[in-house]
């Protein structure tokens, strides 16, 4: 099994970028008001504006790239995570090393009925950005079941 993230995750990422953009705009607006009220230098307001454009812009541009090249796979023995094209990384986390699995969903993920998965080992944490509810439950069951079997074997 080699799965791509559900396509709704792109909507979530875009929404996150939009929220970041709103925060940057709010800071810019606040500084502009300060400029009007107390004659703060106007270029002070340009700093968050430029930072925001760079931050949100790079995020939005990278979304198709991230989506296209992010893969996860769960076999009988391990969880595999793979990301990137220009810089690629493949991680292997044996099921037997997994201490616990966390499923979490903030408002944005809930809105798209997705859940983020975190896999914890004794020293590291690995995340899958978002999976559909059904897959999340299945994933958790599978990992817990395999972890149990791995323990029983050991």
């Amino acid at each position: 099994m080699q799965a791509q993230l559900p396509h709704q995750i792109k909507t979530v990422w875009r929404a996150r970028a939009a929220i970041d953009g709103i925060i940057w705009l709010a800071i810019t607006a606040a500084l502009l008001i300060c400029h009007h009220l107390w004659q703060w230098p106007w270029w002070l307001a340009m700093i968050p504006l430029v930072a925001g454009i760079l931050h949100v812009g790079s995020h939005l541009l990278l979304i198709p790239y991230r989506y296209r090249f992010w893969r996860y796979a769960i076999t009988a023995d391990a969880v595999y995570l793979r990301s990137g094209y220009l810089f690629r990384t493949e991680e292997a986390i044996p099921i037997a090393r997994i201490q616990n699995v966390t499923l979490a969903a903030g408002p944005l993920l809930q809105w798209q009925s997705l859940q983020a998965v975190q896999v914890h080992t004794a020293s590291t944490t690995h995340s899958i950005a978002g999976v559909t509810g059904a897959v999340a439950d299945q994933l958790r069951e599978q990992i817990m079941q395999l972890a149990k079997e791995a323990r029983a074997d050991a």
Partner: protein
């Protein structure tokens, strides 16, 4: 029947408590001095002392411990009653500290550490308890309930017969202390203290001293610097000598025990199968003298100083003797040095390039404002930057020449890195690698190179071991060694 700590625990707990207030206390004391013992400063000092005394008193009064058949139970707390259960089987390390003044009473301070990552709650400290407590816990841990109240002898802490003992030779210890770079941080402390002293000594005195020495200024500064350097080296030397005094490593059944220290006798015991990885370290200086240090990575804080969480198994051993000496103690360590697969020679320049780019960017960012505002100092800045870059390139070369990987057998892996002028080799078992990652870039892929990174638990943290620009086939081999069932899951 739950037991209370001996009364002698009180002063020890007080010292520990005052330590956490050290910064505040120091501030108040300096202030008191400068204000010529003003009443409000003395009051603040008294308040801090009385407050901590009260806190410690309550803590002592509410603290009891019980050695149950399966677990150690600790009850504490005034408003929030807290009961901690620590099953003997989950104890990672047992850490005993006996200051010289506790020796006549047959008491010692005991730290019980588990692998729980919740630092404070994962560990329990029993202050000034009889030696028999540690012996009992040790016996429980090794699934041999203690026979009779025979373990009451205050001198024999570990009654079991040791299977294997190694005591450090005085000559080796001497070399170890002499080749330590521990004086560097100490030097910083001395200069810091001198800076503080500066504030305390009345200006008039200083002015008088400096005016009478003005014509010797440069000489005085150089002399003072040298003097401080010598003091720091000597202090660091003495500190290491007393810290590792009579260092002994013993193996009893499945337990490894290290004992060391002159003023404070420290004994740490760990089950062999709880060791996550072994680490063999050599600084450039010790590399020249063919000496090595062996540490064990364990899943708890085994060391008493916060700077280093790893248990020292062998402070110093002649490098050639490392493997034959350690193998009997930890059977899964190879008996001879593993043959490492080095970084391919035509890829080593990447290490140098990366360090030059990284350092070059930072240096350029520093030099630009220098050129703009203080252009008269540019030549000096440029000179220092140049030397820095040469050092960076040499470090890159060092790292490239020392990096390597070896698959010892289907269970064991050796990885070597060379960062900060220190050669470090890890030997780790497959089951102790928490996760593994291979990475490369679109430009590196055609050159058949990749980066390998391993995650190993060390203390409460993750120790990441990275080897870059490894031959890709070698990287894949390690990956297949790690997950032999899924060799099809590749890039």
């Amino acid at each position: 029947m739950p037991k209370r700590l001996p009364l002698l625990a009180l002063p020890l707990m007080l010292i520990q408590e005052l330590r956490t207030w050290l910064f505040l206390l120091g501030l108040i004391i300096i202030n008191t001095w400068q204000s010529h013992f003003a009443w409000y400063n003395l009051l603040a000092l008294a308040a801090v002392l009385a407050g901590s005394l009260l806190l410690v008193g309550i803590r002592y009064w509410r603290f009891t411990y019980l050695l149950a058949p399966q677990q150690l139970t600790i009850t504490s707390g005034l408003f929030i009653r807290k009961v901690r259960h620590i099953p003997y089987a989950n104890i990672q390390t047992l850490h005993r500290q006996q200051w010289f003044y506790l020796r006549p009473f047959g008491l010692e301070t005991l730290n019980v550490e588990t692998s729980s990552q919740d630092g404070k709650n994962g560990a329990a400290t029993l202050f000034a308890v009889p030696l028999s407590v540690a012996a009992d816990i040790e016996a429980h841990r090794q699934h041999q309930p203690k026979s009779a109240p025979a373990a009451q002898q205050p001198t024999a802490a570990v009654p079991a017969q040791a299977d294997l003992t190694y005591q450090i030779a005085p000559k080796d210890l001497n070399l170890y202390a002499l080749t330590s770079l521990g004086f560097l941080p100490l030097l910083a402390v001395i200069f810091g203290a001198y800076g503080k002293l500066d504030d305390l000594i009345p200006d008039a005195w200083q002015a008088r001293v400096f005016s009478s020495l003005a014509h010797l200024a440069l000489l005085v500064i150089v002399g003072l610097g040298l003097f401080f350097l010598l003091v720091a080296i000597f202090a660091s030397y003495l500190n290491l000598m007393q810290k590792y005094y009579h260092f002994t490593l013993t193996q009893t059944g499945d337990t490894l025990v290290t004992t060391r220290g002159f003023f404070k006798r420290t004994t740490v015991s760990v089950q062999r199968d709880r060791i996550q990885a072994a680490r063999i370290r050599q600084s450039l200086l010790r590399q020249g003298l063919h000496l090595a240090t062996v540490q064990a990575l364990v899943a708890s804080n085994a060391a008493d100083d916060e700077s280093d969480h790893d248990l020292v198994l062998m402070p110093v051993v002649p490098f050639a003797q490392t493997w034959p000496t350690m193998h009997p103690f930890i059977p899964w360590l190879p008996a001879a040095a593993p043959a490492l697969n080095a970084i391919p020679a035509n890829s080593r320049w990447y290490y140098i390039r990366n360090l030059l780019i990284g350092n070059g960017i930072v240096l350029a960012a520093l030099l630009v404002p220098l050129a703009y505002f203080w252009s008269q100092w540019l030549w000096l800045g440029g000179f220092i930057a140049g030397i820095w870059l040469v050092l960076a390139a040499l470090q890159g070369r060092y790292a490239a020449n020392n990096a390597g990987v070896a698959i010892i057998d289907e269970h064991r892996l050796a990885v070597q890195t060379g960062s900060w002028w220190t050669r470090t080799q890890y030997v780790v078992r497959r089951e102790n690698i928490q996760s593994l990652a291979l990475s490369n870039s679109i430009w590196l892929a055609p050159k058949h190179r990749c980066h390998l990174s391993l995650n190993i638990r060390s203390g409460d943290n993750n120790q990441q071991v990275v080897v870059r620009y490894l031959d890709r086939a070698m990287g894949q081999a390690v990956r297949d060694w790690y997950q032999p069932a899924d060799t099809s899951q590749h890039f």
